[in-house]
Amino acid sequence: MANSKIKIEVFSAPVCRKCIKTFRLVETVVSELQNDSIELRKVDIVEELDYAIELGLRATPAITINGKLVFTATPTHSDLRVAIQSQLSS
């Protein structure tokens, strides 16, 4: 398996419960994968509105991997894991 560096960003709003749930899920999956190549960042959409628009976001929560919008809502654990592993091996 290749070991590409990947950047995961979870876009959330200040009072978004689903965003909190989504970020926790991503943290869990990243932790399970035990891979130092993964960089995880929580993005406050209000603080970085221009960046969010640039990436094509229209709602929260949303997850991007390497600058590409991958999930527009809370994914399942397995879908998220597959998406991250796919990026790690590419």
Binding site: S12, A13, P14, V15, C16, R17, K18, C19, K21, I45, V46, L49, A52, I53, L57, R58, A59, T60, P61, K68, L69, V70, F71, T72, A73, T74, P75, T76, D79, V82, A83, S86
Partner: protein
């Protein structure tokens, strides 16, 4: 094409332009050849309505009446328009494109803001109605 002729009051109501404005546009040449009944009452045909709609759109873009007059020349006879008129048309096209880009960006920002989670117990009210708990995978 509907060739129904309309009186000034009807055109005024339809387009949201005052009768005075319609008469003024004719006076300064933005509208030419507006028909008259035998008793001298103005009658507007589809071509006039089309020009008036163009004028209204151009005014919404804050184009001056002088500029609109030139654009109407281009609109009426694009192949024989003077260089100056062609250049103005190109310039206005750039302005409209920039404006459109700004509007698109603003629309996207407002869409995102409207869709932001509101912090209710159930999460994101707007989004929940369309997705429930299922996530949509855009790219794998």
């Amino acid at each position: 094409m509907n060739l129904k002729n309309r009186h000034i009051g009807e055109v005024s109501r339809q387009l949201g332009m005052s009768a005075d404005a319609l008469r003024y546009y004719e006076k300064i040449g933005l509208l030419q050849g507006v028909g008259r009944t035998v008793s001298g009452i103005r009658i507007y045909d589809d071509k006039d309505i089309s020009r008036l709609k163009f004028i209204k759109r151009a005014q919404k873009m804050d184009f001056s009446l002088a500029e609109i007059s030139k654009l109407l020349q281009m609109r009426g006879d694009p192949q024989h328009a003077r260089t100056e008129v062609r250049e103005l048309t190109r310039q206005k096209l750039v302005e409209i494109s920039n404006h459109l880009r700004d509007l698109t960006l603003l629309r996207d920002e407002l869409t995102l803001l409207v869709n932001l989670c509101q912090g209710s117990e159930s999460g994101c009210p707007i989004i929940n109605t369309i997705e429930e708990d299922e996530s949509r995978v855009l790219k794998s």
